[in-house]
């Protein structure tokens, strides 16, 4: 509630009502949701007590999508319609996805906008829709656990995600009917879970060994600002490889050849995984596997034996660690904290190898499967306003440079990587033909000189430029990157002041219009009454705006507004009150917009007054 938020520190302007918020770790293999309850952040289990939701969705013909464990169990029988690891496809074009590997069983088709669609028995599905189905499942779990509607969520993304991948993630949230308050980087969330944001300064290494991927990130915490200095990793190395290594050992011991059927392979991997987990605590475990001929093999594995088996894989994670340090311009000794993420970091040998490499014991008190979701929940709780006195401030940087295509297929950087966001940069363009009324811009992301080596984000067309002689028009284009790393472009012709119309064609994303129509379709299929839902949403919004305005006017309306200005605001507010109880959600929305427009100057004056208050007593004179 912005109008209310501007207040003297420590002075609450309104009685606060607790709002439900959640942090979501939308993972490649598993997803989790966490929330702060009674001051404690923890992940929420489903009815069976399971915290991890496998990131798997199955689309059968004429049926609602199956999500999680149920879908995972079907993966082997119905591979074409069961989507796993959809995170790898987010924000990618069909061509990118095909280079990911020949192992994908899915049939991809390109939509008109270049967005890949997976053909399933339940119809074509985009990666955004599949992710939305996972998020929807977590939303249901959260709302039934907390007993109320979610006010907003924070979703985590890998630090290296580019704009298209971030936008796709946010779109999935919107499609699932969630209010995405913020996207934050997974390593940053892990650091927040440990409360490292409360320390003054430090350099934090986040070692994340997930199911199928390994990521190492180095963050610098500088006076409350988290900056991702460097990330590295191995997209084909994860905890699953540890299980496979142990399974291979069992096969050797049991004298099983390489030709094992799927069912036995599954039993072997389960036994391996169980042994790995038990050996985190025990020094030795007994193993048993039922073989194909019905006989049972028994054996034992010691922790030392397992360490020896896993040593080559553990070593393999240290090479990216070295590279990451070098990219960050640091040495192992510069690291002040090491945070462990991912279930496989429970393996004692992984921990000891990381401790040896960085020369310090890693932080591992928080469940490494849940630490990212927990950090996101802490941030979400703060963002919905449940902790008005909290001082935490997470500032992120843009992970990859943003540029535009210039003559000859070269890129010109507009926002260099590692710039703190939000950021806005303006650039002037002109026409090169008499009477030219449109200009095309191609926005890319990446560090390379050539456009073809960077990732294409979107093509913008500036239209309605007033016709002038060549070179006379001066079109100022502003590239703004918000706190989530998402791009927004605006343009204005300087001599005439005309606002150029911008048409955005995301390279692999969805337009707002597409999201809206998908949202409509998904709600219709869920039997929800869209009209009723829209009306409810608009009424809540109207109440929020009116309440905030009332409180603000009481506080400083007399001081900041003359009677005429105040009357204009009151008139708009009265009009809103009158339509609030009607049934026309569009009328309410228009009235809300009218109130916001009428109070625009007032909002700016309040911000101004707030700056002056923040800087009060900091006169320039005191430094002379």
């Amino acid at each position: 509630m912005a109008l209310l938020q501007i207040s003297e520190p420590g002075k609450s302007t309104a009685p606060h009502q607790h709002r439900f918020a959640a942090g979501i770790d939308l993972g490649t293999t598993n997803s989790l949701v966490a929330s702060v309850r009674s001051g404690r952040a923890d992940t929420l289990p489903d009815e069976q007590g399971r915290h991890l939701l496998p990131s798997v969705v199955r689309y059968a013909a004429n049926a609602a999508p199956e999500v999680g464990q149920a879908a995972k169990l079907q993966a082997a029988h119905d591979p074409l319609n069961t989507i796993i690891s959809v995170k790898r496809f987010m924000g990618r074009g069909v061509d990118d996805i095909l280079t990911l590997g020949s192992m994908l069983p899915y049939e991809f088709i390109a939509s008109e906008s270049g967005m890949p669609l997976i053909n399933t028995a339940g119809g074509p599905r985009s990666p955004v829709q599949v992710s939305a189905d996972i998020l929807l499942e977590l939303k249901r779990r959260t709302e039934s656990t907390l007993g109320g509607d979610l006010s907003g969520v924070v979703i985590t993304v890998p630090a290296y995600f580019d704009e298209a991948q971030r936008q796709a993630t946010k779109d999935a949230g919107t499609l699932a009917g969630l209010k995405v308050l913020r996207l934050i980087n997974e390593p940053t969330a892990a650091a927040v879970a440990y409360g490292l944001d409360r320390k003054a300064d430090g350099v934090i290494a986040v070692y994340d060994l997930g199911g199928g991927t390994f990521d190492i990130s180095i963050l610098r915490l500088n006076q409350g600002v988290f900056e991702v200095l460097a990330t590295a990793g191995d997209t084909a190395l994860g905890g699953d490889d540890l299980d496979r290594e142990i399974a291979r050992w069992i096969m050797q011991q049991a004298g099983i050849g390489n030709a094992v059927d799927h069912a036995l392979q599954r039993r072997l991997l389960e036994a391996a995984c169980a042994a790995k987990e038990q050996l985190s605590e025990a020094d030795e475990v007994e193993l048993g596997v039922v073989l194909d001929d019905g006989s049972q093999w028994h054996g034992s594995l010691s922790r030392q034996q397992m360490n020896d088996l896993l040593e080559p894989l553990v070593r393999k994670t240290l090479a990216p660690c070295r590279r990451c340090l070098r990219d960050a311009g640091l040495r192992a000794g510069d690291i002040t904290e090491v945070v462990m993420v991912g279930g496989s970091t429970r393996v004692p040998r992984v921990r000891s190898a990381v401790a040896e490499f960085f020369g310090r014991e890693p932080l591992a008190e928080i469940d490494p499967d849940r630490v990212v979701a927990i950090g996101a929940a802490v941030q979400a709780d703060m963002l919905v306003g449940n902790k008005p006195d909290e001082e935490m401030l997470l500032l992120d940087v843009i992970p990859l440079s943003l540029g535009i295509e210039t003559m000859g297929g070269l890129t010109e950087k507009i926002v260099p990587r590692n710039t703190t966001i939000p950021v806005a940069r303006a650039q002037e363009f002109t026409t090169f033909k008499d009477g030219q009324t449109a200009i095309a811009l191609h926005v890319v992301q990446g560090e390379r000189e050539l456009v073809e080596d960077c990732r294409s984000l979107a093509r913008f067309e500036l239209r309605d430029i007033p016709p002038m002689t060549a070179g006379a028009a001066r079109i100022r284009v502003t590239f703004q990157v918000d706190a989530d790393g998402l791009l927004n472009v605006t343009a204005r012709e300087q001599t005439s002041g005309a606002q150029a119309h911008i048409e955005v064609k995301p390279s692999y994303g969805l337009s707002d219009h597409e999201i809206e129509s998908m949202l409509r379709a998904s709600m219709e299929s869920a039997g929800e009454d869209l009209q009723a839902r829209r009306l409810r949403e608009q009424q809540v919004e109207a109440d929020r705006v009116l309440e905030a305005l009332q409180a603000a006017l009481q506080q400083d309306g007399d001081r900041l507004l003359d009677s005429q200005e105040r009357a204009a605001i009151e008139t708009a507010a009265q009009a809103l009150r009158e339509v609030r109880n009607g049934a026309d959600h569009q009328a309410i929305r228009r009235a809300v917009e009218a109130v916001e427009a009428a109070s625009a100057t007032y909002v700016e004056r309040r911000m101004n007054a707030s700056i002056q208050r923040a800087m009060a007593g900091h006169g320039v004179d005191e430094f002379k």
Partner: protein, 182 residues
């Protein structure tokens, strides 16, 4: 839309308009302002307020980036005082300075051939850092002395640009050398 912060970078932080800068104070005020204006503070606000907040936070970030960088702060201060900075201009460099630049570049080119390239590079980097610091001290004198020393300041800023580029090349070479070693 008119910006709330229609002030210059120094005014945003209530800092005196001089080259000499209390860095700790700048950092503290930067955090203070971001705490008040970062979009996270307006997570559940209306569109208009969110837009204003993003603009404010972006402007605060921009001002901070400029002021904390010795070269950009110098350039900005010169522009505020009505000087036109032009890269094409001012090519008639002091021949002694140009000679010195050529020598530094030659030294950089020879680093690879030395017995221990990383040590040689570190020595060169230290030399460059020291010279940059000297230029910075001279720029402070020229900009803050109160006399009309804009001409001298322009020359110093131009020299700092040379050194900044040189530092970038040193860093690029360091990355290459380390990649080859490990």
């Amino acid at each position: 839309m008119s910006s709330v912060l229609a002030q210059n970078h120094f005014e945003i932080f209530s800092l005196p308009q001089s080259y000499a800068l209390d860095r700790a104070l700048l950092d503290a005020r930067y955090r203070e302002l971001q705490r008040a204006f970062h979009p996270d503070r307006f997570a559940s606000a209306g569109d208009h307020e969110r837009r204003v907040s993003i603009q404010q936070a972006a402007q605060i970030n921009e001002a901070y980036q400029v002021l904390k960088d010795p070269l950009r702060r110098g350039q900005y201060l010169l522009e505020l005082r009505g000087n036109v900075l032009n890269d094409e201009q001012d090519t008639h460099q002091d021949p002694v300075f140009l000679m010195q630049q050529i020598e530094l570049r030659e030294a950089l080119g020879e680093v690879r051939g030395t017995p221990d390239p990383l040590v040689a590079l570190e020595m060169l980097a230290t030399d460059i850092r020291n010279q940059y610091a000297e230029l910075q001290a001279a720029l402070e004198l020229a900009l803050d002395a109160g006399d009309d020393a804009a001409g001298e300041a322009l020359v110093l800023v131009r020299r700092m640009q040379f050194f900044t580029r040189l530092q970038e090349e040193v860093q690029a070479l360091e990355a290459d050398l380390e990649d080859e070693l490990f």
